[in-house]
Amino acid sequence: MKTWRDQNYYEILEVDPQATDEEIRIAYEKLKTTYSPSSPGIYALFTPQEMKEILAKVEEAYRVLSNPRNRNEYDLMLRGEKTEVTIPAPAPAISLHRHLGPAELREALGGEEGPFSGENLRKIREYLSLEADEVARETKIGRNNLSSIEEEDINSLPALVYLKGFLKAYAKVLGLDPYKVIEDYLARITRKGYQRE
Protein backbone atom coordinates (compact mmCIF):
# COMPACT_ATOMS: atom_id res chain seq x y z
CA MET A 1 0.00 0.00 0.00
CA LYS A 2 1.36 3.35 -1.03
CA THR A 3 -0.10 6.78 -0.69
CA TRP A 4 -0.51 8.74 -3.89
CA ARG A 5 2.43 10.82 -2.75
CA ASP A 6 4.73 7.79 -3.09
CA GLN A 7 3.19 6.27 -6.18
CA ASN A 8 5.15 5.93 -9.39
CA TYR A 9 3.77 7.39 -12.63
CA TYR A 10 2.00 4.18 -13.63
CA GLU A 11 0.38 3.88 -10.23
CA ILE A 12 -0.62 7.51 -10.27
CA LEU A 13 -2.33 7.01 -13.64
CA GLU A 14 -3.69 3.64 -12.43
CA VAL A 15 -2.46 1.84 -15.52
CA ASP A 16 -0.36 -1.25 -16.08
CA PRO A 17 3.35 -0.67 -16.81
CA GLN A 18 2.67 -2.31 -20.19
CA ALA A 19 -0.24 0.03 -20.96
CA THR A 20 -0.56 1.29 -24.53
CA ASP A 21 -0.39 4.98 -25.36
CA GLU A 22 -4.15 4.95 -25.87
CA GLU A 23 -4.79 3.42 -22.45
CA ILE A 24 -2.55 6.01 -20.84
CA ARG A 25 -4.35 8.82 -22.60
CA ILE A 26 -7.78 7.58 -21.52
CA ALA A 27 -6.64 7.08 -17.91
CA TYR A 28 -5.17 10.58 -17.90
CA GLU A 29 -8.40 12.14 -19.12
CA LYS A 30 -10.53 10.28 -16.58
CA LEU A 31 -8.25 11.17 -13.69
CA LYS A 32 -8.25 14.81 -14.71
CA THR A 33 -12.03 14.81 -14.41
CA THR A 34 -11.98 12.80 -11.18
CA TYR A 35 -9.76 15.26 -9.35
CA SER A 36 -11.04 18.46 -10.87
CA PRO A 37 -12.59 20.91 -8.41
CA SER A 38 -16.00 20.27 -9.99
CA SER A 39 -15.84 16.52 -9.37
CA PRO A 40 -19.00 15.80 -7.35
CA GLY A 41 -18.66 14.94 -3.68
CA ILE A 42 -14.92 14.40 -3.78
CA TYR A 43 -14.40 17.09 -1.15
CA ALA A 44 -15.68 14.56 1.38
CA LEU A 45 -12.33 12.81 0.96
CA PHE A 46 -9.73 15.30 -0.24
CA THR A 47 -8.92 18.91 0.55
CA PRO A 48 -8.62 21.37 -2.36
CA GLN A 49 -4.87 21.47 -1.76
CA GLU A 50 -4.58 17.67 -1.98
CA MET A 51 -6.59 17.62 -5.19
CA LYS A 52 -4.29 20.22 -6.68
CA GLU A 53 -1.29 18.11 -5.74
CA ILE A 54 -2.85 14.94 -7.19
CA LEU A 55 -3.68 16.75 -10.41
CA ALA A 56 -0.14 18.08 -10.68
CA LYS A 57 1.19 14.55 -10.26
CA VAL A 58 -1.25 13.23 -12.86
CA GLU A 59 -0.09 15.91 -15.31
CA GLU A 60 3.55 15.19 -14.64
CA ALA A 61 3.03 11.44 -15.02
CA TYR A 62 1.23 11.97 -18.31
CA ARG A 63 3.90 14.28 -19.71
CA VAL A 64 6.51 11.61 -19.10
CA LEU A 65 4.55 8.52 -20.08
CA SER A 66 2.99 10.00 -23.20
CA ASN A 67 6.38 10.71 -24.69
CA PRO A 68 8.09 7.49 -25.89
CA ARG A 69 11.60 8.71 -25.17
CA ASN A 70 10.81 9.98 -21.70
CA ARG A 71 8.77 6.89 -20.93
CA ASN A 72 11.62 4.62 -21.97
CA GLU A 73 13.99 6.58 -19.77
CA TYR A 74 11.54 6.35 -16.89
CA ASP A 75 11.13 2.58 -17.31
CA LEU A 76 14.91 2.23 -17.15
CA MET A 77 14.90 4.21 -13.95
CA LEU A 78 12.19 2.04 -12.40
CA ARG A 79 14.35 -0.99 -13.16
CA GLY A 80 17.29 0.72 -11.51
CA GLU A 81 19.23 1.06 -14.74
CA LYS A 82 19.18 4.81 -14.69
CA THR A 83 19.18 7.39 -11.94
CA GLU A 84 17.63 10.44 -13.52
CA VAL A 85 14.78 11.21 -15.85
CA THR A 86 13.81 14.27 -17.78
CA ILE A 87 10.37 15.59 -17.04
CA PRO A 88 9.15 17.58 -20.03
CA ALA A 89 7.95 21.07 -19.23
CA PRO A 90 4.19 21.57 -19.42
CA ALA A 91 3.16 22.45 -22.96
CA PRO A 92 1.14 25.64 -23.29
CA ALA A 93 -2.37 24.27 -23.51
CA ILE A 94 -4.14 25.54 -26.58
CA SER A 95 -7.38 23.72 -25.97
CA LEU A 96 -8.24 24.97 -22.52
CA HIS A 97 -11.94 25.67 -22.13
CA ARG A 98 -12.53 26.30 -25.80
CA HIS A 99 -16.11 25.90 -26.81
CA LEU A 100 -17.36 26.62 -30.29
CA GLY A 101 -20.89 28.01 -30.35
CA PRO A 102 -23.35 27.56 -33.24
CA ALA A 103 -22.68 31.08 -34.54
CA GLU A 104 -18.94 30.47 -34.77
CA LEU A 105 -19.57 27.11 -36.38
CA ARG A 106 -21.71 28.71 -39.09
CA GLU A 107 -19.01 31.27 -39.66
CA ALA A 108 -16.36 28.57 -39.97
CA LEU A 109 -18.41 26.35 -42.26
CA GLY A 110 -20.00 29.02 -44.44
CA GLY A 111 -23.49 29.00 -42.94
CA GLU A 112 -23.74 25.31 -41.94
CA GLU A 113 -23.39 23.78 -38.47
CA GLY A 114 -22.08 20.45 -39.70
CA PRO A 115 -21.75 17.67 -40.53
CA PHE A 116 -18.35 16.95 -39.02
CA SER A 117 -16.68 15.61 -42.10
CA GLY A 118 -12.91 15.54 -42.49
CA GLU A 119 -13.11 18.59 -44.68
CA ASN A 120 -15.23 20.50 -42.18
CA LEU A 121 -12.89 19.60 -39.33
CA ARG A 122 -10.06 21.08 -41.39
CA LYS A 123 -12.14 24.21 -42.06
CA ILE A 124 -12.84 24.64 -38.35
CA ARG A 125 -9.17 24.13 -37.56
CA GLU A 126 -8.21 26.80 -40.07
CA TYR A 127 -10.94 29.08 -38.79
CA LEU A 128 -9.31 28.81 -35.35
CA SER A 129 -5.94 29.42 -37.04
CA LEU A 130 -4.47 26.22 -35.65
CA GLU A 131 -1.62 24.64 -37.58
CA ALA A 132 -1.87 20.90 -38.18
CA ASP A 133 1.45 20.47 -36.35
CA GLU A 134 0.15 22.34 -33.37
CA VAL A 135 -2.94 20.11 -33.19
CA ALA A 136 -0.77 17.02 -33.62
CA ARG A 137 1.40 18.09 -30.72
CA GLU A 138 -1.51 18.92 -28.45
CA THR A 139 -3.59 15.83 -29.20
CA LYS A 140 -0.69 13.38 -29.63
CA ILE A 141 -2.26 12.35 -32.93
CA GLY A 142 0.46 11.61 -35.46
CA ARG A 143 0.74 14.10 -38.33
CA ASN A 144 -0.10 11.34 -40.86
CA ASN A 145 -3.17 10.22 -39.01
CA LEU A 146 -4.35 13.78 -38.78
CA SER A 147 -4.06 14.21 -42.56
CA SER A 148 -5.85 10.90 -43.14
CA ILE A 149 -8.67 12.05 -40.90
CA GLU A 150 -9.04 15.38 -42.66
CA GLU A 151 -8.91 13.71 -46.07
CA GLU A 152 -11.22 10.88 -45.00
CA ASP A 153 -8.74 8.53 -46.57
CA ILE A 154 -10.34 5.24 -45.56
CA ASN A 155 -7.33 3.19 -46.62
CA SER A 156 -4.89 4.90 -44.31
CA LEU A 157 -7.16 5.62 -41.35
CA PRO A 158 -6.20 3.77 -38.14
CA ALA A 159 -8.27 0.99 -36.56
CA LEU A 160 -11.60 1.97 -35.10
CA VAL A 161 -10.59 2.10 -31.42
CA TYR A 162 -7.72 4.46 -32.21
CA LEU A 163 -9.74 6.47 -34.66
CA LYS A 164 -12.40 7.14 -32.03
CA GLY A 165 -9.78 8.27 -29.56
CA PHE A 166 -8.19 10.56 -32.14
CA LEU A 167 -11.52 12.05 -33.18
CA LYS A 168 -12.38 12.71 -29.57
CA ALA A 169 -9.06 14.43 -28.91
CA TYR A 170 -9.31 16.43 -32.13
CA ALA A 171 -12.89 17.47 -31.36
CA LYS A 172 -11.84 18.67 -27.93
CA VAL A 173 -9.03 20.81 -29.30
CA LEU A 174 -11.51 22.36 -31.70
CA GLY A 175 -14.04 22.95 -28.91
CA LEU A 176 -16.61 20.58 -30.46
CA ASP A 177 -18.82 17.92 -28.90
CA PRO A 178 -16.71 14.76 -29.25
CA TYR A 179 -19.68 12.41 -29.46
CA LYS A 180 -21.30 14.41 -32.24
CA VAL A 181 -18.03 14.51 -34.16
CA ILE A 182 -17.45 10.76 -33.78
CA GLU A 183 -21.02 9.99 -34.81
CA ASP A 184 -20.95 12.20 -37.92
CA TYR A 185 -17.51 11.18 -38.97
CA LEU A 186 -18.00 7.43 -38.54
CA ALA A 187 -21.30 7.59 -40.41
CA ARG A 188 -19.54 9.26 -43.36
CA ILE A 189 -16.57 6.94 -43.59
CA THR A 190 -18.73 3.84 -43.08
CA ARG A 191 -20.68 4.91 -46.14
CA LYS A 192 -17.37 5.22 -47.94
CA GLY A 193 -16.56 1.62 -47.02
CA TYR A 194 -14.24 2.01 -44.00
CA GLN A 195 -14.28 -1.22 -42.02
CA ARG A 196 -11.23 -1.56 -39.82
CA GLU A 197 -11.90 -3.12 -36.45
Binding site: M1, S39, I42, F46, G165
Partner: protein, 310 residues
Amino acid sequence: MYGEKREKNIWAIGGGKGGIGKSFVVANLGIALCERGKEVILVDADLGGANLHTLLGITYPTITLDDFIRKEVRNIEDVLVETEVPHLKLISGSLDILTMSNPKYTQKQRVIRHIYSLDADYIIIDLGAGSSYHVLDFFLVSERGIFLITPEPTSLENAYRFLKGVFFRKLRNLTSQYEVKKIIELAMDRGNPEGIKTPFDLLERVEGIDREMGALLKEEIRRFRPQLIVNQVRNRAEAEIGFFVKSACRKYFGIELSYLGYIFYDHNVYLSIQKGRPLLLNHPTSDAARCIRDITSKLINGGELSWSLR
Protein backbone atom coordinates in the same frame (compact mmCIF):
# COMPACT_ATOMS: atom_id res chain seq x y z
CA MET B 1 -33.12 -28.61 6.69
CA TYR B 2 -29.64 -28.39 8.13
CA GLY B 3 -28.68 -31.70 6.51
CA GLU B 4 -26.51 -30.69 3.64
CA LYS B 5 -24.63 -27.43 3.80
CA ARG B 6 -24.74 -25.43 0.68
CA GLU B 7 -22.61 -22.49 -0.22
CA LYS B 8 -24.39 -19.39 0.92
CA ASN B 9 -23.84 -15.87 -0.24
CA ILE B 10 -24.81 -12.92 1.87
CA TRP B 11 -24.89 -9.58 0.16
CA ALA B 12 -25.80 -6.22 1.66
CA ILE B 13 -26.76 -3.11 -0.25
CA GLY B 14 -26.25 0.29 1.31
CA GLY B 15 -25.34 3.73 0.12
CA GLY B 16 -25.62 6.45 2.65
CA LYS B 17 -28.33 8.41 0.94
CA GLY B 18 -32.04 7.71 1.01
CA GLY B 19 -34.21 7.48 -2.09
CA ILE B 20 -31.52 6.29 -4.46
CA GLY B 21 -33.16 2.98 -5.25
CA LYS B 22 -31.63 0.52 -2.79
CA SER B 23 -34.84 -1.45 -2.28
CA PHE B 24 -35.57 -1.37 -5.99
CA VAL B 25 -32.15 -2.87 -6.73
CA VAL B 26 -32.45 -5.47 -3.95
CA ALA B 27 -35.87 -6.64 -5.18
CA ASN B 28 -34.81 -6.94 -8.79
CA LEU B 29 -31.40 -8.50 -8.08
CA GLY B 30 -33.30 -11.11 -6.13
CA ILE B 31 -35.57 -11.82 -9.08
CA ALA B 32 -32.63 -11.91 -11.49
CA LEU B 33 -31.00 -14.56 -9.28
CA CYS B 34 -34.24 -16.56 -9.24
CA GLU B 35 -34.31 -16.41 -13.04
CA ARG B 36 -31.03 -18.29 -12.86
CA GLY B 37 -32.60 -20.99 -10.73
CA LYS B 38 -31.32 -19.78 -7.36
CA GLU B 39 -33.15 -19.73 -4.07
CA VAL B 40 -33.11 -16.26 -2.63
CA ILE B 41 -34.13 -14.55 0.59
CA LEU B 42 -34.40 -10.78 0.77
CA VAL B 43 -34.08 -9.14 4.16
CA ASP B 44 -35.38 -5.64 4.71
CA ALA B 45 -33.05 -4.25 7.35
CA ASP B 46 -34.10 -0.69 6.68
CA LEU B 47 -35.23 -0.39 10.25
CA GLY B 48 -37.50 2.57 10.41
CA GLY B 49 -38.10 3.04 6.68
CA ALA B 50 -38.95 -0.41 5.43
CA ASN B 51 -40.73 -0.73 2.11
CA LEU B 52 -39.17 -3.63 0.26
CA HIS B 53 -42.45 -5.51 0.67
CA THR B 54 -44.31 -2.78 -1.24
CA LEU B 55 -41.95 -3.11 -4.19
CA LEU B 56 -42.74 -6.82 -4.26
CA GLY B 57 -46.46 -6.14 -4.30
CA ILE B 58 -47.12 -6.99 -0.66
CA THR B 59 -49.03 -4.10 0.88
CA TYR B 60 -49.60 -5.44 4.37
CA PRO B 61 -46.96 -7.93 5.47
CA THR B 62 -48.61 -10.22 8.02
CA ILE B 63 -45.38 -10.87 9.82
CA THR B 64 -42.19 -8.81 9.96
CA LEU B 65 -38.74 -8.61 11.47
CA ASP B 66 -40.49 -6.86 14.37
CA ASP B 67 -42.06 -10.10 15.48
CA PHE B 68 -38.64 -11.67 15.56
CA ILE B 69 -36.95 -8.79 17.34
CA ARG B 70 -39.70 -8.72 19.95
CA LYS B 71 -39.20 -12.47 20.31
CA GLU B 72 -42.81 -13.23 19.47
CA VAL B 73 -41.38 -15.84 17.18
CA ARG B 74 -38.31 -17.83 17.99
CA ASN B 75 -36.69 -18.45 14.61
CA ILE B 76 -36.10 -16.04 11.82
CA GLU B 77 -37.52 -18.63 9.39
CA ASP B 78 -40.88 -18.00 10.98
CA VAL B 79 -41.04 -14.47 9.58
CA LEU B 80 -40.27 -15.53 6.01
CA VAL B 81 -43.03 -14.65 3.56
CA GLU B 82 -43.52 -15.99 0.07
CA THR B 83 -43.59 -13.60 -2.87
CA GLU B 84 -45.22 -14.00 -6.26
CA VAL B 85 -41.82 -15.15 -7.59
CA PRO B 86 -41.14 -18.83 -6.93
CA HIS B 87 -38.03 -19.37 -4.76
CA LEU B 88 -37.97 -15.73 -3.70
CA LYS B 89 -38.78 -15.17 -0.05
CA LEU B 90 -38.85 -12.01 1.96
CA ILE B 91 -38.26 -10.95 5.51
CA SER B 92 -40.22 -7.76 5.82
CA GLY B 93 -38.72 -4.87 7.66
CA SER B 94 -39.92 -3.46 10.87
CA LEU B 95 -42.81 -1.07 10.56
CA ASP B 96 -42.59 0.01 14.14
CA ILE B 97 -40.50 3.11 13.80
CA LEU B 98 -40.27 4.11 17.42
CA THR B 99 -38.86 0.95 18.90
CA MET B 100 -36.96 -0.49 16.02
CA SER B 101 -35.13 2.30 14.26
CA ASN B 102 -32.34 1.93 16.76
CA PRO B 103 -32.08 -1.65 17.97
CA LYS B 104 -29.98 -2.64 20.91
CA TYR B 105 -26.61 -4.23 20.29
CA THR B 106 -27.76 -7.66 21.47
CA GLN B 107 -30.88 -7.50 19.29
CA LYS B 108 -28.76 -6.67 16.29
CA GLN B 109 -26.34 -9.51 16.99
CA ARG B 110 -29.25 -11.91 17.27
CA VAL B 111 -30.64 -10.77 13.92
CA ILE B 112 -27.23 -11.12 12.27
CA ARG B 113 -26.71 -14.59 13.75
CA HIS B 114 -30.10 -15.75 12.54
CA ILE B 115 -29.60 -14.30 9.07
CA TYR B 116 -26.49 -16.44 8.84
CA SER B 117 -28.50 -19.52 9.71
CA LEU B 118 -31.03 -18.98 6.91
CA ASP B 119 -31.14 -21.60 4.22
CA ALA B 120 -30.87 -20.16 0.69
CA ASP B 121 -28.35 -19.75 -2.11
CA TYR B 122 -28.40 -16.00 -1.76
CA ILE B 123 -29.43 -13.69 1.03
CA ILE B 124 -29.63 -10.03 0.14
CA ILE B 125 -29.92 -7.45 2.88
CA ASP B 126 -31.49 -4.09 2.13
CA LEU B 127 -29.84 -1.53 4.39
CA GLY B 128 -31.38 1.72 5.35
CA ALA B 129 -30.08 5.17 4.57
CA GLY B 130 -27.50 6.86 6.69
CA SER B 131 -24.23 5.71 8.17
CA SER B 132 -25.34 4.69 11.63
CA TYR B 133 -23.45 1.87 13.35
CA HIS B 134 -26.13 -0.69 12.74
CA VAL B 135 -26.13 0.04 9.02
CA LEU B 136 -22.33 -0.16 8.92
CA ASP B 137 -22.29 -3.41 10.89
CA PHE B 138 -24.77 -5.12 8.58
CA PHE B 139 -22.69 -3.94 5.65
CA LEU B 140 -19.53 -5.36 7.20
CA VAL B 141 -20.89 -8.79 8.16
CA SER B 142 -22.07 -9.46 4.62
CA GLU B 143 -19.73 -11.29 2.33
CA ARG B 144 -20.24 -8.69 -0.33
CA GLY B 145 -20.91 -5.16 0.69
CA ILE B 146 -22.42 -3.42 -2.28
CA PHE B 147 -22.95 0.27 -2.25
CA LEU B 148 -25.25 2.11 -4.47
CA ILE B 149 -24.97 5.67 -5.69
CA THR B 150 -26.74 7.91 -8.17
CA PRO B 151 -24.81 10.49 -10.21
CA GLU B 152 -26.00 13.42 -8.07
CA PRO B 153 -23.36 15.27 -6.03
CA THR B 154 -25.42 14.78 -2.87
CA SER B 155 -25.43 11.03 -3.34
CA LEU B 156 -21.68 10.96 -3.97
CA GLU B 157 -20.99 13.07 -0.93
CA ASN B 158 -23.02 10.69 1.24
CA ALA B 159 -21.43 7.68 -0.42
CA TYR B 160 -17.93 8.89 0.40
CA ARG B 161 -18.96 9.54 3.98
CA PHE B 162 -20.59 6.12 4.14
CA LEU B 163 -17.41 4.49 2.84
CA LYS B 164 -15.37 6.40 5.36
CA GLY B 165 -17.67 5.17 8.11
CA VAL B 166 -17.46 1.59 6.85
CA PHE B 167 -13.71 1.77 6.55
CA PHE B 168 -13.02 3.08 10.03
CA ARG B 169 -15.67 0.86 11.59
CA LYS B 170 -14.05 -2.15 9.96
CA LEU B 171 -10.62 -1.28 11.32
CA ARG B 172 -12.04 -0.56 14.73
CA ASN B 173 -13.81 -3.93 14.88
CA LEU B 174 -10.55 -5.69 14.13
CA THR B 175 -8.78 -4.66 17.26
CA SER B 176 -9.56 -4.98 20.91
CA GLN B 177 -6.58 -2.91 21.94
CA TYR B 178 -7.76 0.20 23.68
CA GLU B 179 -4.96 2.45 22.44
CA VAL B 180 -5.45 1.42 18.81
CA LYS B 181 -9.22 1.78 19.05
CA LYS B 182 -8.82 5.25 20.43
CA ILE B 183 -6.48 6.35 17.67
CA ILE B 184 -8.89 4.99 15.01
CA GLU B 185 -11.76 6.91 16.54
CA LEU B 186 -9.67 10.04 16.61
CA ALA B 187 -8.70 9.62 12.98
CA MET B 188 -12.33 9.73 11.85
CA ASP B 189 -12.36 13.40 12.60
CA ARG B 190 -10.11 15.10 10.14
CA GLY B 191 -9.37 17.98 12.44
CA ASN B 192 -8.04 15.63 15.14
CA PRO B 193 -5.29 17.01 17.37
CA GLU B 194 -3.00 14.07 16.46
CA GLY B 195 -2.62 15.36 12.91
CA ILE B 196 -3.84 12.10 11.34
CA LYS B 197 -5.16 13.26 7.99
CA THR B 198 -5.60 10.12 5.92
CA PRO B 199 -6.03 6.37 6.40
CA PHE B 200 -2.35 6.07 5.47
CA ASP B 201 -1.34 8.34 8.34
CA LEU B 202 -3.49 6.22 10.61
CA LEU B 203 -1.84 2.97 9.56
CA GLU B 204 1.57 4.44 10.14
CA ARG B 205 0.49 5.48 13.59
CA VAL B 206 -0.97 2.06 14.41
CA GLU B 207 2.24 0.40 13.24
CA GLY B 208 4.11 2.65 15.64
CA ILE B 209 1.98 1.40 18.52
CA ASP B 210 1.85 -2.26 17.51
CA ARG B 211 3.66 -3.58 14.45
CA GLU B 212 1.65 -6.76 14.20
CA MET B 213 -1.64 -4.96 14.46
CA GLY B 214 -0.50 -2.55 11.74
CA ALA B 215 0.30 -5.49 9.45
CA LEU B 216 -3.04 -7.12 10.19
CA LEU B 217 -4.97 -3.96 9.37
CA LYS B 218 -3.02 -3.57 6.13
CA GLU B 219 -3.83 -7.11 5.13
CA GLU B 220 -7.52 -6.60 5.88
CA ILE B 221 -7.56 -3.40 3.86
CA ARG B 222 -5.93 -5.22 0.97
CA ARG B 223 -8.64 -7.85 1.07
CA PHE B 224 -11.51 -5.44 1.55
CA ARG B 225 -13.32 -5.13 -1.76
CA PRO B 226 -16.56 -3.20 -1.59
CA GLN B 227 -18.65 -3.23 -4.76
CA LEU B 228 -20.26 -0.32 -6.50
CA ILE B 229 -23.40 0.11 -8.60
CA VAL B 230 -24.41 3.44 -10.12
CA ASN B 231 -28.17 3.80 -10.43
CA GLN B 232 -30.22 6.21 -12.59
CA VAL B 233 -27.52 6.79 -15.18
CA ARG B 234 -28.60 9.03 -18.04
CA ASN B 235 -25.52 9.01 -20.24
CA ARG B 236 -22.02 7.70 -20.64
CA ALA B 237 -20.44 10.49 -18.62
CA GLU B 238 -22.64 9.58 -15.66
CA ALA B 239 -21.75 5.90 -16.00
CA GLU B 240 -18.09 6.90 -15.81
CA ILE B 241 -18.61 8.34 -12.34
CA GLY B 242 -18.17 4.77 -11.10
CA PHE B 243 -14.57 4.86 -12.26
CA PHE B 244 -14.02 8.18 -10.50
CA VAL B 245 -15.20 6.69 -7.23
CA LYS B 246 -12.97 3.69 -7.83
CA SER B 247 -9.95 5.95 -8.27
CA ALA B 248 -10.80 8.11 -5.27
CA CYS B 249 -11.04 4.97 -3.10
CA ARG B 250 -7.67 3.78 -4.30
CA LYS B 251 -5.99 7.08 -3.69
CA TYR B 252 -7.70 7.91 -0.42
CA PHE B 253 -8.21 4.58 1.39
CA GLY B 254 -5.85 2.36 -0.56
CA ILE B 255 -8.78 -0.01 -1.20
CA GLU B 256 -9.77 -1.69 -4.43
CA LEU B 257 -13.39 -1.14 -5.24
CA SER B 258 -15.10 -3.28 -7.87
CA TYR B 259 -17.32 -1.29 -10.17
CA LEU B 260 -20.04 -3.81 -11.01
CA GLY B 261 -22.03 -1.69 -13.38
CA TYR B 262 -24.68 0.94 -13.85
CA ILE B 263 -28.42 0.94 -14.27
CA PHE B 264 -29.93 3.21 -16.88
CA TYR B 265 -32.45 5.80 -15.86
CA ASP B 266 -35.60 4.26 -17.22
CA HIS B 267 -39.17 5.47 -17.07
CA ASN B 268 -40.29 1.85 -16.78
CA VAL B 269 -38.84 1.80 -13.28
CA TYR B 270 -41.23 4.53 -12.27
CA LEU B 271 -44.12 2.74 -13.95
CA SER B 272 -43.35 -0.54 -12.24
CA ILE B 273 -43.05 1.07 -8.81
CA GLN B 274 -46.37 2.85 -9.36
CA LYS B 275 -47.91 -0.46 -10.25
CA GLY B 276 -46.39 -2.25 -7.26
CA ARG B 277 -44.88 -4.90 -9.48
CA PRO B 278 -41.09 -5.43 -9.75
CA LEU B 279 -39.44 -4.18 -12.92
CA LEU B 280 -38.09 -7.57 -13.93
CA LEU B 281 -41.66 -8.91 -13.98
CA ASN B 282 -43.43 -5.85 -15.29
CA HIS B 283 -40.89 -4.72 -17.91
CA PRO B 284 -38.56 -7.69 -18.26
CA THR B 285 -36.92 -6.45 -21.44
CA SER B 286 -36.48 -2.80 -20.46
CA ASP B 287 -33.04 -1.14 -20.47
CA ALA B 288 -32.87 -1.03 -16.68
CA ALA B 289 -33.84 -4.71 -16.44
CA ARG B 290 -31.02 -5.61 -18.81
CA CYS B 291 -28.57 -3.62 -16.69
CA ILE B 292 -29.67 -5.47 -13.57
CA ARG B 293 -29.15 -8.84 -15.25
CA ASP B 294 -25.64 -7.77 -16.33
CA ILE B 295 -24.81 -6.75 -12.78
CA THR B 296 -26.19 -10.02 -11.43
CA SER B 297 -23.94 -12.00 -13.69
CA LYS B 298 -20.94 -9.89 -12.61
CA LEU B 299 -21.85 -10.48 -8.98
CA ILE B 300 -22.06 -14.22 -9.48
CA ASN B 301 -18.93 -14.51 -11.55
CA GLY B 302 -16.86 -11.91 -9.74
CA GLY B 303 -16.37 -9.59 -12.72
CA GLU B 304 -16.30 -5.83 -12.93
CA LEU B 305 -16.29 -3.10 -15.54
CA SER B 306 -13.01 -2.01 -17.04
CA TRP B 307 -12.19 1.35 -18.55
CA SER B 308 -13.27 0.95 -22.11
CA LEU B 309 -11.24 2.08 -25.07
CA ARG B 310 -13.22 4.31 -27.28
